[in-house]
Symmetry: C2
Subunit: 357 residues, 2 copies
Amino acid sequence: MISTVVIEAQNLQAFTAQAFERSGLRRADAQIAADVLVTADLRGVESHGVARLHHYLAHLKQGMVAAETNLTILRELPTTLTVDAGNGLGLVAAYRAMELTIERAAQYGSAAAAVCNSNHFGIAGYYAMMALPHNMIGVAMCNTSPNVVPFGGTQPMLGTNPIGWAFPCGTEPAVVVDMATSGISVGKLEVALRTGVSIPLGWALGENGLPTTDASEAFRIRRLIPLGGFAEGTGYKGYALSTIVEALSYALSGAAMSLNVTAVHGRGNQPTDTGHFFAAYRVDGFRDVDDFKRDMDELVRTLRSCPPQPGVDGVLLPGEKEHKTAIQRSRDGIPLHAEVVTLLRTIATDLQIEPIA
Amino acid sequence: MISTVVIEAQNLQAFTAQAFERSGLRRADAQIAADVLVTADLRGVESHGVARLHHYLAHLKQGMVAAETNLTILRELPTTLTVDAGNGLGLVAAYRAMELTIERAAQYGSAAAAVCNSNHFGIAGYYAMMALPHNMIGVAMCNTSPNVVPFGGTQPMLGTNPIGWAFPCGTEPAVVVDMATSGISVGKLEVALRTGVSIPLGWALGENGLPTTDASEAFRIRRLIPLGGFAEGTGYKGYALSTIVEALSYALSGAAMSLNVTAVHGRGNQPTDTGHFFAAYRVDGFRDVDDFKRDMDELVRTLRSCPPQPGVDGVLLPGEKEHKTAIQRSRDGIPLHAEVVTLLRTIATDLQIEPIA
C-alpha cells in the first residue's frame, strides 16, 4: 500500500536548506538550492524535487560536487558571457548565472550565458521563471548524462536535455514551458518505478533495441526515445531539439558532451562538467509591457477556449497545471511519497537535524 | 505517371527572380526572395520552394502583399528591435530583419528582433543560416495560419510555427535545425496530395476528431497534430513549442495571433499580419571560435558514429541530409515535379517571361 505524508512547503524548504547548509553550502546558497527543489515539489514535478535531495547530498559528501559555488567569468561581451561554475551545485550555479544574464539584459535589452563545469540543475523552468518579475522572457537549457538515443540510433548519446521558457502574462498565470527533449524524462521513469506501473510503448528502447513497457529495464539501460518517437516524418524533431541544447550547453560553454557527463545517479565519481545555457529578453525592448501582457492573456484565453477531445476536461496552457498545483500545495501542503519520507528521515539522522515527518 | 524535369539551380534562381521583379519587387529584393525559394529546392525541401511561387505572385498581383518591402523600426534597445514589415513579402522582410539582428549582435554579442505585419517567410532555416558566415549562431521562428490543434483540443488554433537554428561547424557541415512544431508541415501534406500517397496515422485529425490517413481530408480541414502526438506523457511538448513560437511571433511583435493569420493558400484576401522572431549569438562572445567549431565537429562525429537501428543506413545530424542534397543538386540540377513545371510555365505566360522548361 502506498501512503503519503503531507508537509507544509515552508517546513520542507527549511529542512532542505538546513540539510544543504549542514553539507557545507553557504547559507544563502542553501536557501537557493532548497527553493529550486521545493518549487519542483510545489509545482507537482516530484521527479525533480526533494526525492533527489539524497543524491545531491551524497555528491557533496563524496566531494564530487564543491560545497561552495564560485563562478568565474571566462569570456564576455556586453550581452554574452561564459561562466565556469567551479564544479558547484548546479542548482546554485544556474541561479547565479541567470542572475548575471538578467542583469545584462536589463542594461542592453537581451543577454545570454553559457555555463561549464557545473552539475545537474533540477527543473529548467525555475531559472526561466526568474525572468518574470523583471518583465522579461526567460530561457534555460541544460545537458545531462547520456540517456537518449539519436534518431535512428540504438545507443544513448544525448541527455534528456531540457528546455525552459517563461513568458509573463497579465491577469493570467505566466506561460511556462519546462520539458525534456526526450519523449519523457528519467524522472518520469523513476516515478513509474516507485509506483510500480508499466510505461507506455514509445518512451524507451529495451535491450533488444525495440520499445519496452518495462520501467525497470528502461531505467536500467537508459535508452530514452527522443520527442516525436521514431514515427515517419516526425521522429527526427526531438533529436534535433536535443542537439540544439547540446550545442549550446556543451560546445558553446566548453563543458562536457552529454555522452561524457557522469550520471547523477551514482555511476562514476568524477565531476560531471555539465553545461547550461540561459537567455533573457526585456519585453519592453520589443513592446509596451502592458500590450504584451494583454496579448499573452488573449493567447492563453484563446487556447483555453478550444473545444476539447472527448474525455478531456479542457485545453491547458504550458505550465497551467503546475501553477494550479503550486497554489493548492502552497495552501494545503506537499504530499510526499512514503519512500521519499524515508529518504528524508535518513538524511535527518545522517546530518543530525530535526526530521520533518 | 509522374515525371520530373531537371533544372539548373542558377536558371531556376534567375527565372524566379525575374518573376518577382516583374511582379513589382525591387531587383535586390527579387534576388533575395528567389534565393530563399531556390535554397529550399536545393536542400530538398520542395514543399517550401518554387512550388509555392504562384501563391506569392498571386498575393502580389491581388495587392494582398506589398511589392516593396520597407521595414520600420517600432521600438528598440541596443540588442532588441521590433520591426513593422509594411505587409511586404515575408521572404524579404525576414532577410532584412535578420540582417539587422546580425548587425546588432556583431556590436553587442547577441541580439533579437521581433517582426510584425509580415507574411509567410518560407523555410526558417534560411534566416538562421545567414548567421553562419559571421561565426554566429542563428535563430528564426514564424507563426502561420491556424493548422494545428492544441494538445487535447479539436480545433486548429496554432500555426505549424516553425523553428530554425543554425550552428557553424569546422570541417563538418553546419548543424541546421529547420522544423515545424507540428508533427509535420502543411507542405508535407501538399507533397502527399501531389504524389497521391496516404499519410501515416498521427499526422492530422480527420473530421471525426480522430487521426486520419487521408491526405486530401487532412489538407482540407487542417487539423495537424502537434509534435509528440497525443501520446501519454509526451503529447503536450510539441504544443508547448508551438506556444513559444506564438508568444514570440505574436505577442512580442504585435502581429496577429496564428488563429487570425490569413491562410497563404487562398482563404481570405486581407494582409496576413504574420509575425517572426530572430536571434543571433556571436560564438566568440562565449568561446574561441576554433574551439567551438572543433567541439561542434566532435559532436557531429560522435552522433554519426551511433550504431544504427536495423534497416537504417546511419545516424544523420540535423540538416545533414539537406546539406548533401544541396551539394548534389548544385552539381546535377534540381528535379521539379511535372505539376510544378506546369505552374512555372503558367507564370512565364502570365508575366511574359522566358519559360525555363
